[in-house]
Symmetry: C2
Subunit: 268 residues, 2 copies
């Protein structure tokens, strides 16, 4: 039986650079679908395009308008194909209007001098020793992830402003699913909005733009299998209706799989 | 007399969403122009577009092909205009081929609960107490910035690998120029490639994609005037031909003006 995630990002070729898809109730958010799955569907159009070269290294998605539940069309057009890189233009339309725009870069990687610099947080206990966070009262998409927050870092809505918005969690698809570029792209948006953490309260928010860098190649994703990855997210600044949010996603072997940056609209 | 930067990003309306520009010798890089000025020219097309709403909050530029010295055409098309946000599609073509793609988000900000989270590095002495870095043997564009590195953080090419790539500097346009969104967008690309810092050696590199978030509004930029801003840059990971690089840009009063993230190709 296919995973709900595969159903949610499934696209039918419509000819040329066009693909048809539809929102999936399993990934419903407060309004419309969870943005991570929209990002994954946009990436998936390039992934399954017959002219694809290499694997994704970068994805930017701009959420231009709320997506309604139902069908949509994605255009994925290779803007430029070089010897080892390929630049994509992505666009999602619904009822004739542009709901999301985006760009992606694909590349064939080579063996080079390599060196990690950031180090996985060492003080988060193994996923197996932590409890899965309850999802009562949260939007449907959160039930599609098994989230295990670091001790003391489970979001609490007690209204007490905290000095920072850093929090870490182990996370995987629920039910488990083998990690690939599409699910990693989706996972990059799974971090609770940092204003929830900083203010210990919910707020009306919407991601405006999301950029993810894929440090992992396909072999590293395969090696990760369906086990939990570690995520660490924080914000730099909340100001006049917008805050930024950055996160790293680590394999359980301590390799950086992705780093991701978004700008989020908020209203009090 | 106009500043070279204004000449470098000057665009002539060509009708519709099209604008004509040209590379400027003052901002020459190793091959073609400095990417920061290309990013600023793309943003400038949206900034001077008659349909513009609000100020930029986000800019993504993908460098798809090397730009040759000479003329180019930019298309800046509003993809979606909402009540308080506007999404832009940007594209730079030269000799009929796509050399850069991009997206930008503009917004009208509102007064809201606001809170800084990241704090400006406190251990970098004031710009006035530091020497301007020599530019001998460096590409032309570096002479268009007055860079003053924190003590001990001037890039040194002694070939000794360092444990990290963090470095900080005060920087402003040279000669001085009042800070605005276009010059801030350009400045977001002024940080030396982190592989130079990490390996203490030059390398063949090229920025593939660059995303900048503008935390500042026009009033904060005006308040900064033409004085030095503080930049702090680092990488998370160098792997198989690509590394990421993130930086913050601070006003001299300690306000976060921009945060910026790029993915860079490298070859040994």
């Amino acid at each position: 039986m296919p995973h709900d995630f595969d159903d949610a990002i499934r696209l039918s070729p419509l000819g040329g650079h066009r693909f048809g898809g539809a929102t999936h109730p399993a990934y419903a958010n407060m309004v419309g679908p969870y943005g991570g799955v929209t990002a994954a569907a946009l990436l998936n159009a390039a992934l399954q395009h017959p002219d694809r070269l290499g694997d994704p290294i970068s994805l930017t998605v701009n959420f231009a308008a709320p997506l309604a539940d139902g069908g949509f069309e994605i255009e994925a057009r290779p803007a430029r194909t070089n010897r080892s890189t390929q630049h994509w233009l992505l666009q999602l339309t619904q009822a004739g209007g542009i709901a999301a725009t985006g760009t992606a870069v694909f590349a064939q990687r080579r063996d080079t001098w390599s060196a990690p610099e950031a180090v996985m947080p060492a003080d988060v206990p193994a996923a197996a020793t932590l409890a899965c966070a309850p999802v009562d009262g949260r939007p449907g998409w959160t039930q599609r992830y098994d989230m295990r927050f670091a001790p003391g870092e489970t979001p609490v809505f007690d209204g007490r402003e905290r000095p920072h918005s850093l929090s870490r969690l182990w996370v995987r698809d629920e039910p488990p699913r083998l990690l690939d570029f599409a699910s990693l792209a989706s996972l990059c948006d799974c971090f609770f909005p940092r204003i929830f953490i900083r203010r210990s309260a919910p707020a009306l928010i919407g991601t405006v733009t999301l950029t993810s860098f894929f440090h992992a190649d396909a072999a590293q994703l395969t090696a990760q299998g369906d086990r939990h990855v570690l995520g660490s997210a924080r914000a730099l600044n909340f100001r006049h209706g917008y805050f930024d949010q950055s996160a790293e996603v680590w394999s359980d072997a301590g390799q950086l799989l992705a780093s991701t940056h978004q700008l989020v609209y908020y209203r009090e």
